[in-house]
């Protein structure tokens, strides 16, 4: 099975553990990821803040490229990328006037988008398209642990692009269950991790991350799985900073759902780049 792939900047940069584990675990499942050639940054939350129209055009360029390269479905593993691409895709498909406006800008670069591409988040693709049962069949090492799935915001919101309820999402939990884990229910599932506030307003950013970690800590979960490099960085990388700043102790190992998937499918820790997580050592303790 071949499917289009939009990695996004983070997966090519600091959070390459996500892309390594994604590619390796998907390979086990027989899914081949075809990267969009010459894709550009989705704009994240910064470019829309700078120039909303430019940001949307950037997202549209990626869609146009995918269409040009005959990729009908593209997977965006990063929630921020997914959100940007999927929303612009939705908007263009459902608003002819907007489609025209965007294409006017794209045409300056010799591009056009006709609305034939479907954008999917990696979790959504895995659970809803590939199928939970098929995954279950391939599990070799069931992960028998209490696992908190952290969805974050941009995979389930806004309504237009969400494949499930933002108040009570289920996809990641059903995946966790398929891999042998016990999903835990908690309030913070889709509470914001603070996104890039850690950079622009550190104090508020750290507080927000702390709120999420607090609510997970209550559930006595042993592992947190994430599906977004930004959430991951905030919960994983910043966990140590928060422990120091707020004088608390979490000791919550964070990993990508793809890492969990890879391990369950029988891949080694190295193959899913588990050691790249800052909380890797916690797992060992």
């Amino acid at each position: 099975m071949k499917v289009g792939y939009y990695p996004g900047c983070s997966l090519k940069g600091m959070e390459d553990a996500y892309s390594i584990s994604l590619i390796s675990s998907f390979k086990v499942l027989g899914i081949e990821l075809v990267e969009i050639e010459d894709w550009n940054c989705c704009g994240a939350s910064v470019i829309p803040s700078y120039d909303y129209k430019f940001a949307n055009a950037l997202a549209a360029r990626n869609l146009a490229l995918a269409e040009e390269q005959n990729l009908r479905t593209i997977i965006a593993p990063c929630s921020e990328c997914y959100n940007r691409l999927a929303y612009i895709n939705y908007k263009m498909k459902n608003d002819a006037g907007y489609m025209e406006k965007m294409n006017k800008i794209l045409s300056e670069a010799g591009l056009e988008y006709r609305g034939t591409v479907e954008v999917k988040h990696a979790v959504d693709f895995l659970v809803n398209d590939f199928g939970i049962d098929k995954i279950k069949e391939k599990v070799k090492n069931p992960i028998n642990k209490k696992i908190a799935s952290y969805y974050g915001c941009l995979f389930v919101r806004p309504r237009e692009i969400s494949v499930e309820s933002a108040e009570n999402p289920k996809t990641m939990d059903s995946l966790v269950e398929a891999l042998g884990g016990t999903p835990v229910d908690y309030d913070g599932k889709t509470k914001c991790c603070g996104a890039s506030l850690v950079v622009s307003n550190e104090k508020v950013g750290l507080q927000t991350i702390k709120n999420v970690l607090d609510s997970i800590k209550e559930t006595e979960a042993e592992i947190i799985v994430t599906s977004c490099p930004l959430c991951h960085a905030n919960l994983d990388t910043q966990q140590l900073t928060i422990e120091k700043e707020f004088k608390v102790n979490y000791m919550l190992p964070v990993m990508y759902f793809t890492q969990l998937l890879g391990l369950a499918l029988g891949l080694s820790e190295r193959e899913v780049a588990l050691n790249k997580n800052l909380t890797y050592e916690v797992l060992k303790v």
């Binding site: 900047c9 983070s10 090519k12 940069g13 600091m14 959070e15 390459d16 010459d38 894709w39 550009n40 940054c41 704009g43 994240a44 939350s45 910064v46 470019i47 829309p48 803040s49 700078y50 120039d51 909303y52 129209k53 430019f54 055009a57 950037l58 360029r61 006017k104 800008i105 794209l106 300056e108 670069a109 010799g110 915001c153 941009l154 919101r157 806004p158 309504r159 933002a166 889709t190 509470k191 914001c192 603070g194 996104a195 890039s196 506030l197 950079v199 622009s200 307003n201 104090k203 508020v204 507080q207 927000t208 709120n211 990388t237 140590l240 900073t241 120091k244 050691n275 790249k276 800052l278």
Partner: protein, 181 residues
């Protein structure tokens, strides 16, 4: 008119809001905001431009779309936030130096590489003074760890057809100018 400007950029109609406060109650960062999203929209309705742009609300918005998801009038404060930031940036208003540096580097990367290079960013961010000495000292430890884990990439990631990005950017800037006239 700030309301119209916002509406034009974001495609949202702030006037449709009937001030129920669902957004503010839903907002994960409203505790730190000058005004919650609801009051912010109210100020926009009343066209109090100065107060709106002075507030930190839109800068603190983490764009989690929680308010959008729950709004009974289908208004997205997240997109309104984006619009307010656009307006502020055009007038050179930033909440702090860090944000300004962050934005400038990001845009620069966009036009120079077509992608965001985290490795270079950290270097440039520090060089431009994005972090104070105290934070820097604290973060050295973290930086070292990241480096040890191989998380700080060295290569520059760049796209082939950079001219396309530039042309798109120019088209947007041109349209903006035409709109103004």
């Amino acid at each position: 008119m700030i309301a119209e400007e916002v509406s034009k950029i974001s495609g949202e109609n702030p006037f449709a809001c009937f001030q129920c406060g669902d957004c503010t109650g839903s907002c994960p960062v409203s505790f730190a905001m000058d005004y919650g999203p609801r009051r912010m929209i109210h100020l926009i309705q009343l066209n109090l431009e100065e107060e709106v742009l002075k507030a930190n609300t839109h800068w603190l918005c983490a764009s989690c779309y929680n308010c959008t998801y729950r709004c009974p009038r289908n208004i997205s404060f997240t997109r309104i936030s984006y619009a307010l930031r656009n307006i502020s940036v055009k007038r050179g208003i930033y909440p702090n130096k860090t944000t300004k540096i962050f934005y400038e580097i990001f845009l620069d990367h966009m036009l120079k590489y077509g992608r965001f290079n985290e490795g270079i960013f950290v270097r440039e961010f520090v060089a431009k003074g994005g972090k104070g000495l105290k934070e820097l000292l604290r973060d050295i430890n973290l930086g070292l760890k990241l480096w040890k884990k191989g998380k700080i990439p060295k290569d520059v990631d760049k796209i082939d057809k950079l001219d396309q990005i530039k042309k798109i950017y120019e088209a947007c800037v041109k349209e903006e100018k035409e709109d103004k006239q």
